[in-house]
Amino acid sequence: MIALLTRDLRLAFRAGGGFGLGLGFFLILAVLVPLGVGPEPRTLGLIAPGILWVGALLACLLSLDRIFALDFEDGSLDLLATAPIPLEGVVAVKALAHWLTTGLPLVLVAPLLGVLLNLAPGAYGWLVLSLLLGTPALSVIGAFGAALTVGLKRGGLLLSLLVLPLYIPTLVYGAEVVIRGAAGLGVTTPLLLLAGITAGSAALLPFAAALALRVNLR
């Protein structure tokens, strides 16, 4: 499993691996929003938590179809399915690799973009913490969506239609943590719910994704 993880990471970091595309998208979104909404600092500060979370979510979405599509095309997914490790484990490792190459960089960059969007000073810690807790759920849910659409020719658009509704609870609780943090309120409840969604998705969705992959590979 570790070999699979290092293989996926190496593939992602190589030229043409698409690493950094999500980051670039996240940056552009954070630049476009003030251009569209206007540079009024108070307005930007109000919408900053939501924009940062929606941005992270869309940036995650961009690279989802890469999780299985390339391996499906060159046949290595068939090899993985017949390998001695369970397919559920393969899904979990691939979701982890996706998170390490997409989610974690987003978490690290988000505070910088918070400065651009005039995020309230008290909210930076909560922004990082909520993204750190929430983005793994985005990767796992995305891996499930990618497993559903892996056999399709033009699965990209369908993938976003399927996955975005599944992202709603994560988005609501994640953004709520940052909003409450910015207002100086208690954040325990949404934070716990967010962590619960991540833990639950990470525990259960690999099974659903592996089931979908087996269907697509038969």
Binding site: F144, L148, T149, G151, L152, G155, L158, L161, L162, L164, P165, L166, I168, P169, V172, Y173, E176, P190, L193, I197, L205, A208, L211, A212, V215, N216, R218
Partner: protein, 246 residues
């Protein structure tokens, strides 16, 4: 092999025979109840003293919402039956239910907007119930899109069934996430089995007629849709056989 069990109707031939006999009756009764209930509700009930005649939109709004939610639950059950027992009729029934549920969701949202404009002063508010219903519509869209995107019938049935199961969990989570904000503008349940309900029988009776009518309408559309799917599959099978011997 007639043991009188419900699973007999998982046999497409038996399902076609029974549904063919039942369908006209269900459809007729649905037409009578929906037509009669709506006429009764729209023209024979008094205006509400605060809401005026806009209150009458409830006769469309509540039954549509009822069917919209229960259609998804029926799809969930049918998906489970397909995944566990591999009965093709169940998968096709789930497929046939989705467009009906989606249209009912739109009717619920639209009538709600028409009612909300004069009552709340706005067509739309990000109220938890409204939001949850809009999210349900998105789940319907994704489900229908996945069915239509996959060519192989069994693969499509498997994948949409898995999506339905996972989607149900996330739809429920989203509903509670939306309720996390606040209780919102939408009033609580007007109908309830608990004593001391707040609705007069002058409204309740036609409303019950409409709810029963919409439920039967759903059953009728579901049977018709499933029969169409079965016929379409037989037709495809015949075409393949023709081409083999041609």
């Amino acid at each position: 092999m007639s043991n009188g069990s419900l699973w007999e109707y998982a046999n497409p031939v038996k399902f076609m025979r029974l549904s063919g006999r039942v369908l006209p009756w269900v459809a007729g009764l649905a037409a009578v109840l929906v037509g009669g209930g709506l006429f009764w509700g729209f023209f024979l009930t008094p205006d509400d003293f605060r809401q005026g005649s806009t209150v009458k939109i409830i006769f469309l709004h509540v039954p549509a919402a009822l069917v919209a939610i229960n259609a998804w639950i029926m799809m969930l059950v049918a998906s489970l039956v397909w995944l566990i027992r591999r009965h093709h009729v169940a998968a096709l029934a789930a497929k046939a239910a989705a467009p009906v549920g989606a249209v009912m969701t739109v009717i619920g949202l639209f009538t709600g907007a028409v009612w909300g404009q004069p009552m709340w002063g706005t067509w739309w508010a990000w109220d938890p119930r409204l939001t949850a219903f809009l999210i349900l519509f998105l789940f319907y869209l994704g489900y229908i899109a996945l069915w239509s995107a996959i060519e192989d019938a069994d693969t499509a049935a498997d994948l949409t069934a898995v999506l339905c199961l996972v989607g149900t969990v996330f739809a429920v989570l989203s509903r509670y996430a939306a309720f996390f904000w606040s209780q919102g503008l939408h009033q609580g349940a007007s109908l309830s089995l608990a004593p001391g309900t707040r609705m007069d029988w002058a409204y309740k009776a036609p409303l019950y007629a409409c709810m029963a009518g919409f439920t039967l309408l759903f059953v009728a559309l579901l049977l018709a849709g499933t029969r169409t799917e079965i016929r379409a599959r037989r037709y495809r099978a015949l075409m393949v056989r023709e081409r083999m011997y041609a």
